[in-house]
Symmetry: C2
Amino acid sequence: MEEFSALPLVVLAEKFAALPGIGMKTAQRLAYAVMEMPEDQVLEFSDAIRNAKHQIHDCPVCQNLTEQEVCSICSNAKRDRGLVCVVEGPKDVSAIERTHEYHGVYHVLHGLISPLDGVTADHLRVAQLLQRIQEGGIRELIMATNPSVEGEATAMYLSRLCKPLGVKVTRLAFGLPVGGVIEYTDEVTLYRALSNRSEM
Amino acid sequence: MEEFSALPLVVLAEKFAALPGIGMKTAQRLAYAVMEMPEDQVLEFSDAIRNAKHQIHDCPVCQNLTEQEVCSICSNAKRDRGLVCVVEGPKDVSAIERTHEYHGVYHVLHGLISPLDGVTADHLRVAQLLQRIQEGGIRELIMATNPSVEGEATAMYLSRLCKPLGVKVTRLAFGLPVGGVIEYTDEVTLYRALSNRSEM
């Protein structure tokens, strides 16, 4: 946005443009939209951003985002705690929950092993996963990482690490289109991938 | 976003989804992106939204958005105050400024006359425009509203209202593609439309 626009509007547009998938043109439209919103809605929007960051932390059990002490999935007595689905991020938990067919719990790694980007197992929540296994009660880990180079490498790494601890390690079936992204996969395909999981 | 997600994240996603052109899927991605931003960036984003709304008001002369007492265009001594470009909204000022060929000033209507939507001249900044003309010094008004039904009707209405006050009233040339939107028109086309403006 150019220097003849009001500065706070330029600043706001730049904040929007810093979000993923938002270009400068869209960012300007959004900034103007905020200007046209009633005062109370603007404050609610501003507060929602602060609150999301301040009130949400990682669940001490599964590492997923939650505003409760322990997340609603880990604290749900109906979920099977012996079955743990290992995912890259919170978005993948949402995607798998949308199948309404998975009744186990999760472990969120918060990333994938990627030597080229300098991300090793130490940067992920691997130690927490090993601790959960050592505490006992887990009979199966489902590796639900994306079918990408990093996703496969991470699944392979964790499989080798966890199998000696006496848990069964399975992988999502390749019902997923190779090169695809879990987050955008439709519920039926994702459910098939869950049902047809194979031991690794 | 489903009930198993953290509530503040759901609230934030709903705020994003309330913005124009942002669907629920994109809103969720943006909410997660905010979660992954460092604390200081989150606060800056939140503040930018409040500041845009609180620090910006309408310029008392041209009615454009500004954080200064009088906007930078109206207070620029190099601009020709005898030439006033009448536009629907602040976005159109930005679009015309990008041609770098217009050296007059503006008048922002903040809407177009649209009887079907219940918007009459009383809802727009028409009285302020008439006052500027009566204060003297304006020799030409360029009607730079969109080539839509409402845009044409508003230009026609203002033309009939202002001509008797002794100002020349011109209309942007139809270099603009009919049915198009000023905001998205490229600089060259917009400059042609400015240069070839015709008296109405």
